[in-house]
Amino acid sequence: MIRAAFSLAFAALLRNRSRSLLTMLGIVIGVAAVVMMQSMGSGATAYIGDTISGMGTNMLLVMPGASKGMQQSSLGAPLFTAGDLAAIRSQAHDVASISATGNRITRIVAGPYNRTVNTSGVEPAYFVIRSWSAATGRILTVEDERQAASVCVVGQSVADALYPGKSALGLELRIQKITCRVVGVLEPKGANAFGMDQDDVVFLPHSTFARRLAGSERVAMFMVMATAPDRVDGAKEAITDILRRRRHVAKDDEDNFAIRDPREMQVLLQSVTGMLTTLLAGIAAISLLVGGIGIMNIMLVSVTERTREIGVRLAIGARTSDVLTQFLIEATSLSAMGGAAGVALGLVGAFAVARGIHVPFVVPSTSVPIAFGISVLVGVTFGVVPARKAANLNPLAALRHE
């Protein structure tokens, strides 16, 4: 009986093919939006998680200047000294590693090729903190640091751009007036959470960077690794104590330095992603509502048009419940087919977008059943009114309907 009811419903929908397709469109768009929104939300979350953990685990970044939310004002705040770092290294509990860091945007030249990149001066611990190792050659050593050696390691993008088709190892690289030897090429890391290429970098020993590029032994910022993920807050506290004391911050004054925790960034980025997802969900909900009303409208038109058919069905033995079931199945089939098409469209769309902006293509296991379930629910909900109208027709009046 149910199978017969389904075939009746499909026959009726096929008799009005183009109208059925147009009616489905609203549901197709709504469901596609639901699927895309869930897939893109999950993709972005996964991507943010990946890139943040790619920055190194348990990591803190310490910069001069007061912190005001995400804003950073380093104006007037003194840089750090080698003594500050030594004090933290020897006194702060919960701190596993520490590396001074300096950055300059510089022009680099190798043979006929040149490029403008971010050149960083770092201590060997930097590579431990960021869990970054050399793909070929080696990373910077304590010996390089002590001697302020004229050596550098380069990111994959720099190696590809300046030494195309050959190994960069042992070759010369000119960074402004410094000529250094490439001793290692780092493993590729890809883009960071803001879409910047993390492999488009050159690393010098911090001592070399400070003396020959920055012209100052002072430390612009430094990176710290806590002993364990649950010790990050402890390390933050210890560093704050030491720096406030050494930088003579009065008891009631604000810190004149800021300790950044990438996890805060993750929370912020994810709250942005969450907001966008909610927005898309709202659009999807409106689209589904409009789609549902469209189905109800068309079904009501259909009931009026088919009044005589309903009369005949009642005359030849259809019960009220048979007519109700038939029209409910028609409405539900419309929305369910629209839902299936929407799921397909949403997956294709999400895949294309993921490819386009280089984030992972993730389909949450619940999204397809949820989207499809919603479409069926819409059909049932908005099908009830027309189906009841059809089922409650008086057989004689329906037969005489012109």
């Binding site: 026959a11 008799r15 058919e309 069905r313 048979d322 037969l399």
Partner: protein, 242 residues
């Protein structure tokens, strides 16, 4: 069947149908007494507005009387639920309409099989019995033809096949030849007559065409909601025991 051999199959007693209220009250039927016996072929005639179609609708369980009693084999219809009425329409009555009322863009076979869907018959059995019914009305081989590919006479044959596919005892035909020319109308009438004589189906037919009515051994004439003529007493009931 519980029916007494001489008891009527369908019986109306003092049946009235009133439309409207107060001054606008219209007596479509004004106290009808009528017995139909199994196996009869009855023509109901009368001018339009005489109440013949209303009587037919009440007999076919599509309408309910305002007053009076309608019994089928002695069972009062007003005591039955709408679902039971649907089952009765499905299993014991067949309907043929002036407008044919076939589903558009649907094959003859599917149109004919429609009552079987509501009888809960399986797909294969439906196809078999629908094919059989189409053969019985002379449309063997036209199973896949759609309604719009058939002539009026052929469409009415499909409608008749649909009305008999569930082997009803009573066939109700409302102006079955009203939309057909006289030649096709005659063919349809011969078909209806054959169903009555060969298969013993009781037939009630509303018509205003004297040529059609002439096929019926019993003719009932309606005027202003009353029966003004009934040939039942004048000629023997044909085919009652056939």
């Amino acid at each position: 069947m519980l029916q007494h051999p001489d008891g009527p199959l369908l019986s109306l007693r003092g049946v009235a149908k009133v439309y409207g209220e107060g001054e606008a009250r219209v007596h479509a039927l004004d106290g009808i007494d009528l017995d139909i016996h199994a196996g009869e072929l009855v023509a109901i005639t009368g001018p339009s507005g005489s109440g013949k179609s209303t009587a037919m609708s009440i007999l076919g369980l599509l309408d309910v009387p305002t007053e009076g009693a309608y019994t089928i084999e002695g069972v009062p219809v007003h005591e039955l639920s709408s679902d039971v009425l649907a089952v009765l329409r499905n299993t014991r009555f067949g309907f043929v309409f002036q407008q044919f009322n076939l589903l558009a863009r649907t094959s003859a076979l599917e149109n004919v099989a429609m009552p079987l869907v509501y009888a809960g018959v399986g797909a294969r059995e439906r196809a078999r019995r629908a094919t059989e019914a189409l053969a019985a009305v002379g449309l063997a081989g036209r199973e896949d033809a759609r309604s719009n590919q058939l002539s009026g006479g052929q469409q009415q044959r499909v409608a008749i096949a649909r009305s008999i596919v569930n082997r009803p005892e009573i066939l109700l035909a409302d102006e079955p030849t009203g939309n057909l020319d006289s030649k096709m109308g005659a063919e349809i009438m011969k078909l209806i007559q054959r169903l009555n004589v060969d298969q013993g189906i009781t037939v009630l037919m509303v018509t205003h065409d004297a040529a059609c009515a002439a096929y019926a051994p019993r003719q009932i004439d309606f005027r202003d909601g009353r029966i003004v003529g009934d040939t039942a007493g004048k000629s023997p009931v044909a085919g009652a025991t056939a």
